[in-house]
């Protein structure tokens, strides 16, 4: 009953809250005021319903929390799907194989010589998968918040554009160069912010992102300014001429390979000395340093490596689009990549891939909802944090294999 009353109250509150913005619209040209009272009714009804549901969810969540607190080892009892997959090597191998097969066949299945729109869309999405996985190293594993990550992407893209247009360097030559340039920038920008703590890092990285964009915009003799750089060559395939579809599919395979390499590398690092140090740094900086981990080096390496992938992705982005200008590298893009990491689940490779694909593909195919896209995006970010802060897929720690008996005998022999 109290729920009902509260929901009613909340409904009324939201009717009050949205009154001026949703009901009144002042048309300054015709000098008329438009009153949209029906909106108010809808707001009231929706707020009431949502409030009802909200209280229910919060209660359930609290109950779950209590349960978790009561049981000391909850993870043991409810292994997630991802965990079960990871624990079963045969199954996980099969799933992986199937995914790889689908990914390989995909471009031929969905395209014709005329229509390869879907391939292009997928290339764009996969580029963001690489970005998401790269930022996952910096934010997800090492816990270094970066709100200007897209700047490294821009560095890669402009590196390729300038080298290809100015010096005629080929794509394959520029791909590693773009990555290295991204990494260099990562280190250069990483140095001054080593001492800064989480929140300061947020604004400084955001500032760096903006500065990069402003410099690209203003320094038009080098970067082409707001007009951007057009006519960037596509990746060359041993000098063979390719038609539009083949070019797209070729790019698709390149970026797919890059995704595979990124997954491989992230996975290797995650369960290594370096990866553990990153995570420890994320969990507790002081304890981490006190345990003998060099903070500066660890932070810089996470920063540089994240930037490296962004640089690589940038090169492919420039090659794929033939044209770049500073508009592709705004704060919203940084926020988008960050959202991919957070919504997917910090540190979780599979989660980040799913979130990246979802965030890039859904808007592309749901153009009809384009207007509401960003509204929903913002709301989802808030709701995810409240109801599923660990993201779509929880970052599972690997269980290391150790031979108890063997160690015991060592112990005994000592």
């Amino acid at each position: 009953m109290s729920h009902l009353k509260r929901s009613l109250g909340i409904g009324l509150w939201f009717m009050f809250l949205t009154l001026p913005l949703m009901v009144v619209r002042v048309n300054t040209v015709s000098r008329e005021v438009e009153w949209r009272w029906s909106n108010l009714v809808w707001v009231g009804i929706c707020a009431f319903a949502i409030a009802w549901f909200w209280q229910f969810s919060i209660e359930r969540r609290a109950a779950q929390r209590a349960k978790v607190a009561a049981e000391p080892h909850p993870e043991k009892d409810r292994p997630s799907l991802a965990q079960r997959l990871a624990d079963d090597p045969v199954l996980s191998r099969r799933v992986l194989l199937a995914a790889a097969l689908i990914a390989l066949i995909f471009p031929w299945a969905v395209s014709t010589t005329q229509n390869f729109y879907h391939v292009n869309v997928m290339v764009s999405a996969l580029i963001f998968v690489v970005l998401g996985l790269g930022l996952n190293i910096t934010v997800g594993l090492a816990g270094l918040l970066d709100l200007g990550y897209i700047a490294f992407f821009a560095v890669g893209a402009y590196t390729y554009a300038l080298l290809a247009k100015g010096f005629g360097l080929g794509f394959w030559m520029c791909l590693p160069l773009g990555g290295v340039m991204g990494m260099l920038f990562g280190v250069v920008l990483g140095f001054p912010i080593l001492r800064l703590r989480g929140d300061y890092l947020a604004i400084v990285t955001l500032g760096f992102g903006s500065i990069t964009k402003i410099v690209l915009e203003n320094w038009d003799t080098v970067f082409g300014g707001a007009a951007g750089i057009a006519g960037i060559p596509r990746p060359d395939f041993f000098g063979l001429p390719l038609d539009g579809r083949e070019k797209s599919i070729y790019t698709y395979y390149i970026v797919l390979a890059l995704v595979a390499v990124t997954i491989f590398v992230t996975n290797r690092l995650k369960n290594s000395r370096v990866g553990r140090a990153w995570m420890a740094l994320r969990e507790d900086e002081i304890a981490c340093v006190a345990m003998g981990v060099d903070m500066a080096r660890t932070k810089l390496s996470a920063y540089a490596l994240g930037a490296f992938w962004a640089g690589l992705a940038g090169v492919i982005f420039a090659a794929h689009n033939n044209f770049i200008n500073p508009d592709s590298f705004t704060f919203m893009d940084s926020a988008m990549v960050l959202a991919m990491v957070v919504l997917g689940g910090m540190g979780s490779i599979l989660g980040v891939i799913i979130a990246s694909l979802a965030l890039k593909l859904l808007p592309e195919y749901l153009r009809a909802f384009a207007e509401y896209r960003m509204l929903v995006f913002g709301a989802v970010m808030v709701l995810m944090m409240i109801f599923r802060p660990q993201g779509l897929i929880n970052n599972m720690r690997r269980k290391y294999e150790y031979d108890t008996a063997d160690v015991e005998s060592n112990d005994g022999g000592k």
């Binding site: 690092l269 000395r273 370096v274 507790d284 304890a287 003998g292 160690v407 060592n410 112990d411």
Partner: protein, 270 residues
């Protein structure tokens, strides 16, 4: 200074005239303390006496305002470590635990200990990516050493658990195992018995002595549990208001009128 002349063993840590100011506040005022090989030294004093600050100065978290902190390494060299970064000090062979437990909650128990192996291994990013033999060897070694340490502190059966899921006492022991993984010659424990029940404290008592004996590690601990302190310490330093007021064997400390007045006075009769 009532420093005991009967202390044996090689001098490992030598702190002299250590002073630490925070703005106008002098948290540690001209404190000196030596630790010899094989000793268990306790640092006691009322809350706010500056014991943890002393720890932080010695382990590099803070840079002392004045004074010297010197260590004598195994090869006989003496190094002044004031202002050195904490990770380098740990690298030189001093490891610590924290008063308010600082584990890595989202990592497994075993991984927590493996972090301690960081400074004793050298796998680089490239090694890790390429899976070189060095990476494989060190990984194996890290896992085994860490597991062994977990056995030593009685946590082997929860090695794959997330550290946040451990009980309080177990978390304290995990911190000790993690510190031991850095292969220290001196272990600094900040209130290891805080929040433990008598049974756990008793086990801790045994654990600390065992570590000293088996691992050949000297121990400096801050502790409020007087029973524990008097039981296991070879040497005690008493601080009050940032100043060192007495040093000596447990027996000497018990009989020191200044200590009785300032600190033990209330508690001993309580």
């Amino acid at each position: 200074m009532a420093a005991s002349s009967t202390r044996g063993g090689k001098k490992l840590l030598e702190v002299s005239g250590l002073t630490m100011d925070f703005g106008g506040l002098r948290a540690v005022d001209n404190v000196g303390l030596d630790i010899h090989a094989g000793e268990i030294v306790a640092l006691i004093g009322p809350n706010g006496a500056g014991k943890t600050t002393f720890f932080n100065c010695v382990t590099g978290i803070y840079t002392p305002t004045t004074g010297d902190v010197r260590i004598h390494t195994a090869d006989g060299a003496t190094r002044r470590i004031n202002g050195m970064k904490p990770n380098r000090i740990t690298g030189l062979g001093m490891a610590r635990t924290f008063q308010n437990i600082r584990l890595f909650p989202a990592m497994t128990v075993l991984e927590n200990v493996m972090i301690g192996r960081h400074c004793r291994t050298g796998t680089t990013i490239l090694d890790a990516i390429l899976g070189t033999s060095r990476s494989a060897r060190e990984e194996r070694e890290s896992i085994d050493t860490s597991y062994q340490l977990l056995k030593k502190v009685g946590l082997a059966d929860v090695a794959d658990e997330y550290s946040r899921n451990l009980s309080y006492g177990a978390q304290r022991r995990l911190e000790i195992a993690r510190a031991l993984a850095t292969e220290p010659f001196l272990l600094l424990l900040d209130e290891p018995a805080a929040g433990m029940n008598p049974q756990e404290t008793h086990e801790l008592d045994e654990l600390i002595t065992r570590i000293r004996d088996e691992e050949n590690v000297a121990i400096l601990l801050i502790e409020h549990d007087m029973k524990l302190v008097m039981n296991i310490s070879d040497h005690i330093c008493v601080m009050e208001y940032g100043k060192e007021i007495a040093q000596g064997t447990p027996k000497e400390i018990k009989e020191n009128p200044k200590v009785i007045e300032a600190y033990l006075g209330e508690e001993a009769h309580a």
